[in-house]
Amino acid sequence: MNPPVPSPSGNAAPLGGHARIVKPVAGGRVPPNLADYAATCRDFNWPAARALLDGLPGGRGLNIAHEAVDRHAAGPRADRAALRWIGRGRHRVFTWRELRDETNRVANMLQVLGLEHGARVFVLAGRIPELYLAVLGALKARCVVCPLFSAFGPEPIAMRLEIGEADLLITTEALYRRKVEALRHRLPRLRHVVLVGEAGATTELPGTLDWQRLMQAAGTAFTIPPTDPEDMALLHFTSGTTGRPKGAVHAHQAVVMHHVTGRYALDLHPDDIFWCTADPGWVTGTSYGIIAPLTNGVTNLVVEAEFDAETWYEVLERERVSVWYTAPTAIRMMMKLGRAALAGRDLSALRFMASVGEPLNPEAVLWGVEAFGMPFHDNWWQTETGGIMIANYAAMDVKPGSMGRPLPGITAAILRRDEAGGVDEVTRPMIEGELALKAGWPSMMRGYLREEARYRKCFAGEWYLTGDLAMRDEDGYFWFIGRADDVIKSSGHLIGPFEVESALMEHPAVAEAAVIGKPDPIAGEIVKAFVALKPGHEANEAMRRQLLGHARTRLGAAVAPKEIDFRANLPRTRSGKIMRRLLKARELGLPEGDISTLESDER
């Protein structure tokens, strides 16, 4: 056992100190799909993984929506529940047959609207059934789908629609009015906006079309056209330290990874009721909140309401959820409430629990055992990887605080960059370096949209560099340490400091702004901004509120700062770059490190 190791990012790496959770040799009532890690990794190959899927009939290629919907609608699962939606006060079930018909309507509707192969379809909605139909129907029509998070403010939405060259936006009337209408003039390329009305009502806003009317007019017969596995299918935005958000491109081929990780990392079995709590506005909510459960023929539970522990426990019990995929922030909020809230609940259907978004602290892993009788299984991946890369498995011992071991078919390593711009692999255990993956798995991003240089920067030779710092122990388990850059991870979402700083700089009183991730016991990190005001403006509570309101109105609650502090000026390098790291070290009371490039210090 090792003592906790402090890291440059200020987070104590949750290493050692906790006994491993030993898994029984023979599985429980449902034998795990991945029973022998070493043997499965040894025998794994990608053609065999691809063979778990059907492909389009007649050898016409590979389409995500065919694997998720049509192949089950044509088979023995046709009349089983594919999508079970729990709305606020309403619920709806779609069998695979119904899901096929409704997504066919969407595909036909898109063709009527003139959206051809490769057209960009953006969806912006809460977790309502229409969102799921839209995503799958657009994939059938070979459009590229880009889900946006409905808690984004107008600015992140408009910027992503611009960068992603949106042809069509499907959203709700309420979100359109609040977040899109005022910025529509910035989007000349956007051909159509389709609105879903409140609770099934039709809509009549100028410059928009009504979902319900279009759907009623569309037929339920549709044949997916030939789809090249390398055709662009999904666009997911993510954030870097600098510059605008990056649109990571994924191909239909990614479905091989979605499917096989659903089997191995989430242990999905045909009779499971699966609940992924992530919003489809983020990659987890698409890869595992839509695609993986459906390709695996598993009932996919969707809950519209936001997090509330009591509601969640009620859902787990009433819906007989057997596999649950959630996130550290929610788990830590449940821990705060305490296990007493679970008293009297019959959660006997629950078999496997997993977590993703940011490293799950060992206490939370162990709280799973205490409260639910099983650990939360942490796993690790990114928008760019498209699917789970490193995981804790049902049949593998858990070392609390570790992200687990690479998926079969995935090679992960710890690298150090050398002076010449190359990389060296760190083979000694427990030495910190950058987590890297050997390129070539099916759901690896195919590029950042129109950002070739930033894409190339992610690779060194055969390695994809993740930007995460980690270590590997002597048993091959990986341990997260921190980000190699200044990107902020809050409630499982990546937030680029530049996007937040830019919004603050738009305020007439702001001279300089720098944004950091401040460690937080619940959210992992919260967004904290340091602001220097222009002469003539006073740093006081009224100004703080003004800036906070300004940022929230533009960015939305998920991206805007939670804290704002004032400084007379901000520390800069000789080249004029604000030293976020120094601000962060000072905020946390950590050593300041190398400040030789510091030109002007903060006051």
Partner: protein, 81 residues
């Protein structure tokens, strides 16, 4: 506390967390998270501030009762423990 006092307190607290929000436009039974675009961290901070300002202990389990204006009013109009 009277209803008006409680609503004034809520307005003041939310002014520090989500200054862009105007609670005068929010129906009493509307979920504050939807009506004002608050996320779960905002609600956490809101409940913590309610506790700080009123000195009344608020168990975690009571949070769901504090996500509408009517809920907050009802909560603080009843005698605290």
């Amino acid at each position: 506390m009277t209803r008006d006092e409680i609503l004034a307190l809520v307005a003041d607290i939310l002014g520090g967390i989500a200054p862009e929000a105007d609670i005068a436009t929010v129906p009493g039974d509307a979920d504050l998270r939807d009506a004002l675009d608050l996320d779960s961290m905002d609600i956490l901070n809101f409940v913590a501030a309610l506790h700080e300002r009123t000195r009344r202990p608020i168990p975690e389990a009571d949070t769901p009762r504090l996500v509408t204006l009517n809920g907050v009013v009802a909560y603080f109009q009843t005698a605290g423990p």
